[in-house]
């Protein structure tokens, strides 16, 4: 982990793109401007963080801007991790996709889209990945209720029987 000073230095290099730094439990996080995500990740890659370990979606309901995307970067030679976080509002939940530079983000961005409804611009194949294609809503959002799921196969069976008659 970069220490608190190292984190500040990194954020300084990023300039206006870095909105805030969080140093919590010896883990460094930079909160960035969503529009600058590709530029920020590129400059962090030049600083040595060349492995994108994970992309998480977070819902900060009821705070605004509500949806968050966290990129966990790793520098394998120095064994150093840094998280890059951005927040987008519900009115336009759009972020640039980083799949072109980081092929690993492909499935992970699809998962964030599926679960939270964050749209990744220029993603090569932005479809639902875990939920069925015709599913409505984004189930990991905090205001999405637990339980009460209609059983899709049963409904289909009724339609199918009707059509056969």
């Amino acid at each position: 982990m970069p220490d608190a000073t190292g984190l500040e230095l990194l954020a300084q290099e990023l300039g206006e793109a870095a909105l805030e730094t969080v140093y919590f439990r010896e883990q460094a996080t930079i909160v960035i401007d969503p529009a600058e995500v590709r530029a920020v990740l590129r400059s962090l890659r030049e600083a040595g963080y060349s492995f994108l370990a994970s992309v998480h979606g977070v819902d900060y309901y009821p705070e605004e801007p509500r949806l968050g995307v966290v990129y966990e970067l790793l520098d394998m030679s120095r064994v150093d991790r840094i998280a890059v976080k951005l927040r987008v509002g519900m009115d336009s939940p759009e972020v640039d996709s980083v799949t072109a530079e980081w092929p690993t983000a492909d499935h992970q961005e699809r998962e964030v889209f599926d679960m939270f409804g964050v749209v990744f611009r220029d993603h090569p194949d932005l479809r639902r990945i875990l939920m069925p294609e015709d599913y409505e809503g984004h189930p990991q959002r905090r205001d999405f209720p637990v339980g009460g799921e209609p059983v899709i196969f049963t409904r289909d069976a009724a339609e199918w029987l009707e059509a056969r008659e």
């Binding site: 966290v70 499935h107 992970q108 875990l130 637990v146």
Partner: protein
Amino acid sequence: MSPTENPPLSAYRRREQSITLSPLEDPHDGAPGETSDELLTLNFGPHHPATHGVLRLLVTLQGEVVRDIKPIIGYVHTGIEKTAEDKAYWKVIPVVERMDYLSYYFNAMAFCGAVEKLVEVEVPKRGQYLRVIHLELNRIASHLIWLGTSALDLGAVSIFLYCLREREQILDLFEMSSGQRMHTRYFQVGGVIEDIPAGFASKLREFLKVMPERADEYGAILNSNEIVLQRLRGTCPLDAATLLGLGVSGPLLRAAGNPWDLRKADPYCSYEDFDFKIPVGTVGDNYDRFAVRLAEIYESVKIIEQALDGLPEGPHITEDRKVALPPRHELATSMEALIHHFKLVTEGFRVPPGEVYNAIESPRGELGCFVRSDGSSKPARVHMRDPSFVNLQALSHMARGNYIADMVATVAMLDPILGGIDR
């Protein structure tokens, strides 16, 4: 019909005669002929014994050569991450254990480690050593299932039964220490739920004596099997740089020669106390993937031996009563303990607000757990970075341009666990 006239050919005979016996061109060299120009899209799975679960692959074939693979997943998505948001922290453990159902101790470890970071609780040394013993036993069990099922895909049937025999011994050990064979809920926030019972150590030593000999036997069976070797050697290699770009970690990355292992690079849970080596491959083909995992079994045995020899005395779980349940005997005498017990069981413990990411080395690679707390007794977000989910993206890069039979071997060597992929 006169006897000199040939009888009219049946459709089958006409088809038979139309086949030329000249050698087929090698599809690897390009220049596909008229017959193999056509592309065929084939549904591989979701219910297919060689997909190791409910994995569906949309395979585009040119003749027998794979041109493209699109994995379609989500068939066993059970919303575990959503369920976790609805449970107190210590009740999340049995839920996340069911993600990657072959490495349940690792799921629990990733989650408990993240919560321990958030509440800043120290795990006693004995608890850490007991965790290492169970983690490494679980690694061996997971690799044994992988070895057995993969060998089954390659046509070696008997080894599956041998592998299950040793796995049975490990499950018996888990049953001794926790009462459960799978999904044991043995790891708790702050340590492990119970100390190992009498007789566990001697039974474990028996197993440690047997396991390397048995692993020798597996190696001997498979390494002298011409069919297995031909299907593994040189098939579907991928270099380390591409693998890193795809986010692949664990044995797949080590097979390509990159010795990245979180147990060594960023030790957690006292792994720095143990002396072990990291097996690496050279070319990153299917054989290297096989050899690296087989070699890891020996290293895990070495780690368990050291942990058992050096098992420190002391508590197995933290003394912090705000996080861990008080021991049973205290409940009868101490009002304080009773209150703590009641609070923990009904509400659970509250966790300071914040976000942490805790990564450990699972049998399949980096298993990360992201936990966000909003200050209540239930997590606001639990996300598992499951290695199978990320590694699956490498499949099309590995198998493209190879025969479909090699793709089956590659899926086997990829070792995807669909419970972890779909969560």
